[in-house]
Each structure stands twice: as structure tokens, then as C-alpha cells.
């Protein structure tokens, strides 16, 4: 028993999230089986993977932003904006696909840059800066788009429908992006700085880190990944929908997925693997609830309960395990006191 407890306490938070995911899959498979359906059928697995990919893009970006200690509430409006921009630029012409994709990514990058610049140069809390940005975009959408617009050509829609074995192409693209971001966080200077700034911006600055660079980079990457989510929605529905983001609640759900994945909301601690597991837990949950034909209104209630329960399991441990910061006054502290 104590060996088990010991092993439990040595489990990293990512390990724990993956364990929760496995648990969710096992439970899901059993529950789906009671309805006489096969959870692991090719169709079902690829449905889950497709469901994972849209929120996955957003959540990967959100992870980067949260790691720097900021937060991005504008993502759902960025999703809406990119769907209408891309769909109306394509307008059924296969020749316009590349410009449309570039336009969507470019606009998103600009939005991310403004977010990051406002957060790091004007010192506005990320919560308010991106809430304001979301309002600005929502105003623009309300003025210019009354309903679904544009038309994606077949050649673009094929991206959303292609499958390689049971794995849909969008999920592969999402995983490739995740891999790239993991490498960025682990191998590049800016990736390390993301953690440093998120952990303690003052210390990072005093250590010679230009704190604005990782913050802006994270915001730009987040918005661009969100644009990919929007493009994927266009590929699947073939139209641009100005309320796509609000319907998906990508802002709050991506934050929930990030925290479910073991990333500290305060920043500086966490990783993308956990986030992906968090997104997958949501997808499995939704899939099972759909199979069980749960009342759509009650699904939100169940989601809320699961989020709190899952986060509660490891939130406590994570905080308890942090070493005490002020165990005994060091030489430096004494010197500082003296200087005062």
C-alpha cells in the first residue's frame, strides 16, 4: 500500500493526466458497450480525433500563452474571424486557397502581436487585454457579417475529410504543430524564456531575459494556431461562420483543457503533452455522452463536474510539493536587510 502511495506521489502531473485519460477511455469503452456500440470502431476513433483537433489547435496555443503567465480570451473571436475571412476569400475558387490561408494566418499573427504588445509594453493584464481584443473583433464581425458567408472549394474541403488509416489529416496536422511547439519549448532559447518569464517575470528580467519577446511570441503563435483551428472548421463546414467561435466556447474550454492538462494557470509550469491529454479527455467525454444520448443541456453540467474533480485530484499535490521558498535566511537576504 505504501509502495503504491509512494509511486502515486512520484507520478508527474502529466503522468497523472495520461492516467486520467486512460481511465476515461476505459470507462467510455464500457459505457459505449452498454449501448451496444463499439468505442474502438474506426469511425468512432476518427470522430474523436477530429473532435480533438479543433480544440487541440486552440489549446496548444493557449498553453504557450498561459505558460508565460498571460491568458488569451480572444481565441473564440479569432476562430470566428478566420473562418469568415478564409471562406469569403476563397469564395469557391480553388486558386484562392493559398491566399486565403495566408491572409487568415497573417491577420491572426497581427492580432496576436497586438495582444502580446499590449500585455508586455502597456502592462495591461492579459485577461483584460485579450477580453478587449475579443470585443473589438466581435464588433468588427457584427458590423461586417450578418450570417454564414463564403464558400470553400472542394480542394480545400478535402483536407478536412481525408483520413490516413483511422487517423484524420487534421489530427495529424494538429499533432505536427504540437510536436513543433514541444520542440520550441524544449530546444529553443525563446522556449526556455517562456518558462522563465511565466515563473517570475521580475527574476527573468533581472537575469537578462527580454521579457517582451517570449510573451509576444506566445501570443502570436497562439493566435496563429487558433487561425488553423478556424481554417479546419472552414474545411469541414465549407462556410465561414461569424459565431463559430462563440458556439464552440473555445476561450473557456481551451483554458479548462490547459489546466486539466496540469499547467499552472499562473504560468511557468506545465507542458503541451498534458494539454493534448486534457483535450482528448474532453473529446472522449463528449463522444461517450453522445453515445449515451445524454440530454445536451446536462452535458455542460457533467463537463463542469469532471473538470473540477480532475483538477482537484492533482492541484493539491502540485502545490504541496513545491519546496519552501524561505526556509532560512541566506547570506543575500541578510545583506539586503543590511542595505535597507
Amino acid at each position: 500500500m505504501s509502495a503504491l502511495a509512494d509511486r502515486f506521489s512520484r507520478l508527474t502531473s502529466t503522468g497523472l493526466v495520461l492516467a486520467v485519460l486512460v481511465l476515461a477511455i476505459v470507462l467510455g469503452a464500457i459505457l459505449t458497450a452498454t449501448e451496444g456500440r463499439n468505442f474502438f470502431s474506426v469511425g468512432n476513433v476518427s470522430a474523436i480525433l477530429v473532435a480533438t483537433s479543433v480544440l487541440g489547435f486552440v489549446a496548444i496555443g493557449q498553453t504557450l500563452v498561459i505558460l508565460t503567465g498571460s491568458i488569451d480570451l480572444s481565441v473564440s473571436y479569432v476562430v470566428s474571424l478566420t473562418t469568415v475571412l478564409a471562406a469569403s476569400t476563397m469564395d469557391g475558387d480553388p486558386g484562392n486557397v493559398v491566399p486565403a490561408v495566408l491572409l487568415a494566418l497573417g491577420v491572426a499573427a497581427a492580432i496576436g502581436f497586438v495582444n502580446g504588445a499590449v500585455v508586455s509594453f502597456l502592462h495591461v493584464h492579459g485577461f483584460i487585454a485579450t477580453l478587449g481584443m475579443g470585443l473589438i473583433i466581435s464588433g468588427y464581425l457584427a458590423v461586417n457579417y450578418a450570417g454564414p458567408t463564403g464558400d470553400a472549394p472542394r480542394s480545400f474541403a478535402v483536407v478536412g475529410a481525408t483520413r490516413i488509416g483511422p487517423v484524420p489529416l487534421p489530427a495529424l496536422i494538429m499533432l505536427a504543430c504540437a510536436l513543433a511547439m514541444i520542440l520550441m519549448l524544449r530546444r529553443t532559447r525563446v522556449g526556455h524564456h517562456v518558462y522563465a518569464v511565466g515563473g517570475n517575470p521580475q527574476v527573468a528580467r533581472l537575469s537578462g531575459v527580454r521579457t517582451s519577446v517570449p510573451v509576444i511570441t506566445a501570443h502570436v503563435l497562439c493566435s496563429m494556431l487558433t487561425a488553423l483551428a478556424g481554417l479546419l472548421l472552414v474545411a469541414r463546414t465549407q462556410v465561414g461562420n461569424p459565431t463559430a467561435g462563440a458556439q464552440g466556447q473555445y476561450d473557456l474550454m481551451s483554458i479548462a483543457a490547459v489546466v486539466l492538462g496540469g499547467t499552472l494557470l499562473a504560468g511557468g509550469k506545465g507542458n503541451i503533452t498534458g494539454t493534448l491529454a486534457g483535450v482528448a479527455i474532453f473529446a472522449v467525454m463528449d463522444n461517450v455522452m453522445a453515445a449515451l444520448q445524454t440530454d445536451p443541456f446536462l452535458r455542460d453540467t457533467i463537463r463542469g463536474a469532471v473538470i473540477v474533480a480532475a483538477v482537484a485530484v492533482y492541484a493539491r499535490r502540485e502545490i504541496d510539493r513545491r519546496p519552501a521558498r524561505f526556509e532560512r535566511p541566506g547570506v543575500l537576504d541578510a545583506a539586503l536587510q543590511e542595505a535597507k
Binding site: G132, M133, V143, L252, I307, V311, A315
Partner: protein, 362 residues
């Protein structure tokens, strides 16, 4: 507390009242008053009708629900947490008012008690999950929002149900008639005024002081003997109760629909932050949060008065919030800069108390 002062008085209290007022207005919490007054003047300039006392007081009454929600949100934010469940709580209370009270006048009082109890219960759950289970409050209250919203939609079928008796709706839309000068005094405004006085009083009590200390540095407050978990839980209870009161008022003129209250949590957070209260806790005044709510509503009114297309309102609101916060962020930084300036200055400027969670000026 014995008042034996052994040190020299702080420069803050060494100046005359005028200097102190100016010093207060220079902080974000005071500047929001200037912002509100400026917006009021601009609105009256754009629409002279708005200056009429009768119109003005009705506007103030209309703003009461959002101001009350901002009051509640203030307690949670100043303790270093978030409450995203406010909109869902309002919706739940509104639906309860519609279904439980129904058309039955004799159930008004039990209904009110039930709503307040439920509000307190939601606050306790939010608070305990956040403090004892250590789930970040953003997630706790987000989950509460999802859970409660789903339940409300499930129970009401997502559509308007019930129509409480006029006597109940009177709380939200009634007024004392035939008052000289202002014509009417809406009940909402009276409730808001009472709550404001109570809130200001509460913040000067040991609870309020402890709350700010907990928001500034929970570890230090805990070591000093504050029961952090209990103080924060109380803040969540106050917040949910504020949503409940707002819900009761909203039944009056918005009717019963599960979508009532949607977006109030973000409006409240915006109002509180506009009032100079710092996200992360430990800084800001409770009445500034109310002033922030009025500034926000005045902004909407001004945009309407200027005949800006209603669809653009969101964008303008977003821009102004970011701009206001950018300015107030600079104001806090300037205050800090002055404190660390070399002591060659002969007349030290009074600065607002800027308790530093930051350690950059050591």
C-alpha cells in the same frame, strides 16, 4: 489596537485634505471617478435630455444590477480570485423566481429566502473547492458556470418559463413616486445605496482588512493568523449573494429567461478592473468598483447618444477598456517610481499606498 504612535506620521497623512484628495484622484481607483464624470459630461453634451434629473436617476437605477454584481466580484478579485459563475447564478435565480414563486404572491418571501440560501450555498461550494481542494478559482467558477448553466437550461428547457407576480417584479422596476426634483427614486437605487454603504463599512472592518491582506499575499496573511480559506470562502459567498440580488432585480424588468445574466461575469470583472482594482488581488477600493460599473454603463449610453452603430459598440468598448487599463497600469508604475526616487526631493509627494507584491524595488 492602541494608538500610541512611536514613528513620525507618514507623508500621506502629513498633507492637507486637498493634497490628499488630489493624491487619491491620481490613483486608478480615484481616476475612475474622473472617468465617470467625464463620460457623464460627454453624454449630457451629446444628449442634453440625459442631464434631466429624472432621466439621470432612472439611468442610475438601471445600472444598479451591474453595479451590485461588480460589488460582489470586487470581494473575490481583491482576495486574489475570479468568479466566472455570476452570470449562471443570476440565470439560476431568475429561473427559480419564475418557477418556484410562479404566480403565487404568498410564496414571495419563502422564494426570496430560498434564492438567498441557494446563492450562499453556491458561494460556499465555490469557496471550499477553491481553497480546500486548491482548484484555481478560474476553473472552479468556470465549472460552476457550466454546471449551473446546464442545469438551468435542463430544468427550464432553455426557454422562458413562469411569470412572477407584479409584487415581486416591483422590487426591480418599482420606485418611490412623486419625489421633488428627481421625480422618482427607483427601489434598485436604494438597494444599491444600502449595499454600497454596507460594503464600504465591511471593508473597514477586520474582515475587509484581512481580505485585502489575503489577496496581497496569502502566505503572509496565513502566517499572521488569518484563516485564508475562510476569508476567501466568505468572499465567494458575498459574490454569489450579490449575483442573487442582481437576479432578483433583473426579474423586475428583464423577465424570466435562462439567458438573463449572460455575460455579467465579464462585465463585472471589466467594471472592477476599470475601477482600478488589480487582478491578482490586494489592491483597490470597493466603491471604485461601483464607479467602474457606472463608467462602463455611461460608456454604453454615450455610444448610443453619439448614434454609433450598435454593432460597433463592442469594438469601441474593447478599445476603451484596453486604453483605460494601459493608463492605470502606468499610474501604478509611476507611483512606485516616485517612492524609489532618491531622497534629495525636499517635499515628498504623497503617494497612494502601493503594497508591493513585486520585489523589483528592493
Amino acid at each position: 489596537m492602541t494608538d500610541t504612535r512611536t514613528t513620525a506620521p507618514l507623508p500621506y497623512s502629513a498633507h492637507g485634505p486637498l493634497a490628499r484628495v488630489l493624491a487619491v484622484l491620481a490613483t486608478p481607483g480615484g481616476a475612475v471617478l474622473l472617468l465617470a464624470i467625464a463620460l457623464l459630461v460627454a453624454t449630457i453634451a451629446a444628449n442634453p435630455n440625459f442631464g434631466d434629473p429624472g432621466v439621470l436617476i432612472r439611468f442610475l437605477g438601471r445600472t444598479a444590477p451591474i453595479a451590485i454584481v461588480a460589488l460582489g466580484q470586487y470581494y473575490v478579485i481583491v482576495s486574489g480570485e475570479f468568479d466566472l459563475s455570476m452570470g449562471a447564478v443570476i440565470a439560476a435565480q431568475v429561473v427559480i423566481a419564475g418557477n418556484f414563486i410562479g404566480e403565487d404572491e404568498s410564496r414571495i418571501l419563502p422564494g426570496l429566502v430560498l434564492m438567498l440560501l441557494l446563492g450562499a450555498g453556491i458561494g460556499v461550494v465555490n469557496g471550499l473547492v477553491t481553497t480546500l481542494l486548491q482548484v484555481p478559482s478560474f476553473i472552479t467558477t468556470l465549472a460552476m458556470m457550466l454546471a449551473l448553466g446546464g442545469l438551468v437550461d435542463y430544468l427550464s428547457g432553455g426557454a422562458a418559463t413562469g411569470n412572477p407576480p407584479d409584487k415581486f417584479r416591483e422590487i426591480g422596476r418599482g420606485a418611490i413616486e412623486d419625489v421633488p426634483v428627481v421625480d422618482v427614486i427607483p427601489y434598485q437605487l436604494i438597494i444599491l445605496a444600502v449595499l454600497c454603504v454596507a460594503a464600504a463599512w465591511l471593508m473597514r472592518r477586520s474582515f475587509g482588512r484581512t481580505l485585502v491582506a489575503v489577496g496581497d499575499n496569502p502566505d503572509a496573511a496565513g502566517v499572521s493568523g488569518a484563516r485564508v480559506w475562510w476569508v476567501k470562502t466568505q468572499a465567494f459567498v458575498l459574490s454569489s449573494l450579490a449575483s442573487t440580488v442582481a437576479g432578483i432585480l433583473l426579474v423586475g424588468y428583464a423577465g424570466v429567461h435562462p439567458s438573463v445574466g449572460q455575460g455579467y461575469e465579464f462585465m463585472a470583472i471589466t467594471a472592477v478592473v476599470l475601477g482600478g482594482v488589480v487582478l491578482g488581488g490586494g489592491r483597490g477600493w470597493v466603491l471604485s468598483a461601483v464607479a467602474g460599473a457606472f463608467a462602463l454603463e455611461l460608456l454604453f449610453t454615450l455610444l448610443t447618444a453619439l448614434e454609433i452603430e450598435s454593432t460597433w459598440r463592442d469594438s469601441v468598448q474593447g478599445l476603451i477598456i484596453i486604453a483605460a487599463l494601459a493608463v492605470s497600469a502606468r499610474a501604478w508604475t509611476l507611483g512606485r517610481g516616485r517612492r524609489t526616487s532618491p531622497p534629495t526631493r525636499t517635499t515628498p509627494q504623497p503617494t497612494a499606498p502601493t503594497p508591493g507584491t513585486n520585489t523589483g524595488d528592493n
